[in-house]
């Protein structure tokens, strides 16, 4: 079932006196419960796509249908209500929060705004959500600034799933984390997808991360989607110049076999 259908999406920016097409006719689809990995270099337009899709900035042209609704036509209270279904996790989304806000307040926010859980049940729901993302219930009382970067992204994920979304936009959601933490967060995201049928638009400049979790991968370059296909096909036999550059850029662990034999 098609969950998201983006057609010919356009967005221009004035930058340094020039008019730049950040999105130059982007079309893509996302099925329910699917992960689409979106890769591209800086300036390829992938973060603009995330912002237009999540209605943080307006589009200049094109259409977005989400759950068969005209997503760009929604406004006011209707948009607020429907937004529960499309959550987002950015690189450091909680960095934008009041640093004194408690973890509980951050996770409760969507429960309150979207009315997912009545007030009496919220404390229990927060504890259940914390538990689901691998944090003890005692974290609810901590302030956001007292948790580590990895824990902060777990809390951001808890906040996103609190709204019971059909999809989550993940924009460089694990890029700032240590390598050893990244794998745990990826595993958590995959488990949540299996368990709750959430679709992900997973945006990253790291093709190795996308290949780990994506059913399909799309490559963006100069505001356009230049290549789409199953993750293994795109990473194994990239067709576009942009995809080839991204494949080449993934650092490989070079372990020389003769050294392994020698020891």
């Amino acid at each position: 079932m098609t969950l998201l259908d983006i057609r010919d999406l356009r967005k221009r920016y004035a930058s340094g006196g020039r008019d730049v097409a950040a999105l130059d006719g982007v079309s893509l689809t996302l099925a329910a419960g699917e992960t689409l990995g979106l890769a591209g270099a800086s300036g390829s337009g992938k973060s603009t796509l995330a912002r237009v899709l999540t209605r943080l900035v307006p589009a200049d042209g094109g259409t977005i249908h989400f759950e068969s609704e005209d997503w760009l036509a929604l406004s006011g209270g209707e948009l607020r209500r429907r937004r529960a279904k499309m959550q987002m996790v950015f690189q450091d989304v909680l960095g934008a929060f009041n640093p004194r806000a408690t973890v509980a307040a951050v996770i409760e926010d969507p429960l309150r705004i979207h009315g997912t859980v009545p007030k009496a049940g919220r404390e229990r729901e927060v504890a259940a959500l914390l538990d689901r993302v691998g944090l003890p219930a005692s974290y609810a009382a901590r302030s956001i600034r007292d948790v580590s970067g990895g824990q902060r992204q777990r809390i951001a994920i808890a906040r996103a799933i609190a709204a019971r979304p059909a999809m989550i936009v993940l924009d460089e959601a694990i890029s700032a984390l240590d390598v050893s933490l990244r794998e745990r967060i990826l595993e958590l995201l995959v488990a949540l997808q299996v368990e709750r049928g959430i679709a992900y638009l997973f945006i990253s400049h790291d093709l190795a991360v996308l290949a780990a979790v994506s059913h399909r991968v799309a490559i963006m370059d100069g505001g356009r989607i230049v290549e789409t296909g199953p993750a293994a096909a795109v990473t194994g036999a990239p067709q576009s110049q942009a995809a080839r550059a991204l494949v080449r850029a993934v650092p490989r662990l070079i372990i020389r076999q003769e050294d392994r034999n020698a020891v």
């Binding site: 270099a41 995959v190 994506s214 059913h215 050294d259």
Partner: protein, 260 residues
């Protein structure tokens, strides 16, 4: 190989911090080598780089010794070039690119203003800035992150230092640009016969060009050795875990994909 610097029992504690950021570090920097300092957040790797360059903040307590072959502490900018993670923070927004690249060379090599500009132009060409003539008179905000980092590298190398310390120079850049910057550093260090200390969280990135690696964890040096030996047979459990957590395109995916 002779040691450019012998580091013994180095420990650093920042002001107001109860625990030391770095302790018990014994390590030799060998002349002409490419040494990768590898660690995650809080490992002390950046503290090590700053201690080596004499760039620790006021009030940091340093114990132990740094013994330099030259017989005196190196002068930052003259004997050591330093490239930071965020090129925007290391460049002055109100000075032209040419002035900033020339600054170190003018101060340390005694060049005139005109000679400094000519030298800056030469440095911009060496770091493969497109249209170096125009970039010379431009301000940093007009450049992309990758181009800014090239400028920062040009400025760090302008006074022809023997040692270049690069502290996570590609972490703020996308991976395609990262690959370009690493190739550039590789080329410049080889051409200039320099010693390179490259600080990174990415063991795979280091495996591509470092002669030796030093693995830092929780303020301590847990393992050091030739890159090939450490990767093939890590002695410390932490190093093994770091290697195991590496993911590239050959790593099996976490999901089952139709047709795989």
């Amino acid at each position: 190989m002779t040691a450019l610097c012998e580091i013994r029992q180095l420990a650093v504690t920042y002001r107001g911090q109860p625990a030391s950021a770095l302790r018990d570090i014994d390590l030799d920097i060998r002349t002409g080598e490419r040494l990768a300092i590898i660690g995650e957040s809080g490992s002390g790797k950046s503290t090590f780089a700053r201690a080596l360059a004499g760039l620790l903040p006021d009030g940091a307590r340093v114990a132990g010794s740094l013994c330099w072959m030259a017989g005196h502490a190196p002068r930052a900018g003259r004997d050591i070039g330093f490239v930071f993670q965020d090129p925007s923070a290391s460049l002055n927004p109100v000075l032209t690119i040419g002035e900033q690249v020339a600054e170190g060379a003018r101060r340390h090599l005694g060049l005139s203003r005109r000679q400094g500009q000519a030298h800056a132009l030469d440095m911009l060409a060496r770091v493969h800035i497109p249209d170096p003539e125009r970039t010379l008179h431009a301000f940093p905000h007009l450049l992309s992150g990758g181009q800014r980092q090239r400028v920062a590298i040009a400025a760090a190398l302008a006074a022809k230092p023997g040692l270049l310390i690069a502290d996570e120079p590609t972490s703020a850049l996308d991976m395609v640009v990262q690959a370009d910057i690493v190739a550039l550093l590789d080329e410049l260090v080889r051409d200039g016969g320099m010693t390179l200390v490259f600080v990174t969280h990415d063991i795979a990135l280091a495996s591509g060009f470092a002669d030796r690696v030093a693995i830092f964890h929780d303020g301590q040096l847990v393992e050091t050795g030739s890159t090939a030996e450490v990767l093939a047979a890590p002695q410390a459990a932490y190093t093994a875990a770091l290697i195991a957590s590496h993911r590239d395109l050959a790593t099996p995916p976490l999901i089952r994909e139709a047709g795989r």
